[in-house]
Amino acid sequence: MLPFFFGSKKRALFGSFEPATHRGGAGAALLCGSWGTEYTNAHRAMRVLSKRLCAAGFDTLRFDYFGAGDSGGETIDAELDGWKNDIGTALRELTEMSGTSRIAIIGMRLGATLVVEAAPQLPARVDSVVLWDPILCGTDYLNSLQTPQGDRRETTPVSPMCGPPEVAASQLGGLLVSSSFIDGLRSIDLSSREVRLPSNVLTIFSNNQHRECNIGSASKDSEVAILEAPSPWRDSADQEEGLPVEVFERILKWLR
């Protein structure tokens, strides 16, 4: 595995590139994770998924959005539009490192939603998209993140690394984020509109979280899979069921 920083000096992103363990020409896969506590809890599952993809012949790249994980920036710098651009930056990086033209993107939770929204502007052709329990309704998602001390407006404006010198900030899921980030989350709505992506699309819903959605492919295959599987983004204390092997296998089968 090659851990490295990429992107620009002002917007450094942390990535972990893992080459395929054998040259089977399967292609390359970009993994787009979730955010906040979900990102932390699901880190191991994403790494295991990456390893299984490598064993199946894929080069993989996992990365952290700006202001999240090991990437540059503070949580207050997080913006959904910026994160969609980060997906494009990571996709370019993976394409260059892998040298393959067969690309898949796998998004988990908020990462899946961002992949859907970023799809029209992506800088490279993407053959397959896997959406693993995407956030369909931003309002519901925000409500799920509320904590006893959550969503409290800070009395002092804070200075982010990028953007305007001072922004209104709130605490969400234990992290300091900008009001525009919360507005961005609130505006997510993939359940009431039809979305057609220019790639093959596999949408996975686990643990009876299935919600009506109309995400599919404009011209190619699309499929919705409803699986009984653990949710690795939940609190680690609740993760007694182990890794979501069913989801891993479904993704590998779809991408083969």
């Binding site: 994980g69 090991d70 605490q171």
Partner: protein, 307 residues
């Protein structure tokens, strides 16, 4: 230490076949003084970023005070390679800490290190610190503290005041008696402590006492921080640490802090900010000086625990 604005974050890979992965934050202009580094250890199975990204913020703030900070993943956690040796997990983690200190010494010439750990990270720090003369300080956040008589009183009082427990008792769902029995069992050494402290069948409670004593005698400084809002509290009052380890001669090497309103993972921004300020201030103002041992240093946990 002078305050610096700019820091540089780089990838750190070290250990066997460079299988351990971390992020090192350096001040852009390192000081010429007798340099100090901080190494932040994993909390449980959470990778080096920490809950609520707490270790990213902490390392950046410390680096801005002129300290080099390394946060890395133990073998088998985060992005590090699985541990392949036949060592027990605890010994493997302690070997990884040694590799981190070797890397700091080799790449940056730093031989004075403070270890920071929360929960299992704190336990790893205390079990390693005495054996390596490069360790001059330990920041132990919610380390394992054996229950005391006052702890039981506080715990029982709290549970009896909670109306939900009476409802559960009425519905025959009460866990109070079982929990109390578990705690008493631990106190009576029927069950030694957390699973991650189990090692070759030795008793972690007695062994921790030895580790604290050996570390204090070596002149290592302690900053022990306990939180008051743990969902399954292991400590209920500020002095529990001192009461539980009453046989240890800490002298003036111990600073004890109790964050009454913080939970175990520091989920509020305010508590994390206060934690960062406390740690930075302690690192800046503490006179770190490890004493020369009168007796040969104890090599590792095995030697200490079986002594």
């Amino acid at each position: 230490m002078a305050s610096v604005t700019h820091i540089v974050e780089k990838i750190a890979q070290f250990g066997r076949e460079k299988g351990l992965v971390g992020i090192v934050a350096d001040p852009a202009v390192p000081s010429n003084e007798n340099r100090l580094a901080v190494v932040i250890l994993n909390t449980g199975t959470i990778h080096r970023v920490g809950h609520h990204r707490m270790y990213v913020g902490m390392s950046r703030k410390l680096a801005r005070t002129g300290i080099t900070v390394l946060r890395f993943d133990f073998s088998g956690l985060g992005d590090s390679s699985p541990h392949l040796s036949d060592q027990p997990l605890l010994q493997s983690n302690l070997t990884d800490i040694e590799a981190a200190l070797e890397w700091l010494q080799t790449t940056r010439g730093i031989s004075r290190v403070v270890l920071i750990g929360l929960c299992s990270g704190a336990d790893h720090a205390i079990l390693y610190g005495f054996s390596d003369p490069r360790v001059v300080g330990l920041v132990l956040i919610d380390p394992y503290i054996p229950p005391t008589a006052r702890y039981f009183f506080d715990y029982l009082s709290h549970r009896l005041r909670d109306v939900r427990n009476w409802r559960n008792f009425r519905l025959h769902k009460s866990k109070l008696l079982r929990r109390l029995f578990e705690h008493i069992s631990r106190t009576l050494h029927l069950d030694g402590g957390p699973l991650h402290l189990e090692y070759h069948g030795l008793d972690p409670r007695a062994s921790l006492e030895k580790a604290y004593e050996a570390t204090a005698q070596a002149g290592v400084k302690f900053l022990v921080i306990c939180t008051g809002q743990h969902h399954a509290p292991r400590q209920t009052y500020r002095e529990q640490f001192i009461n539980a380890f009453s046989k240890v001669s800490f002298g003036d090497s111990l600073q004890l802090e109790f964050f009454q309103n913080a939970d175990h993972t520091f989920s509020s921004i305010r508590s994390r900010s206060e934690l960062d300020e406390l740690v930075a201030s302690w690192c800046k103002n503490t006179p770190f000086e490890r004493s020369t041992p009168l007796t040969p240093p104890i090599a590792d946990v095995t030697a200490l625990w079986s002594a």
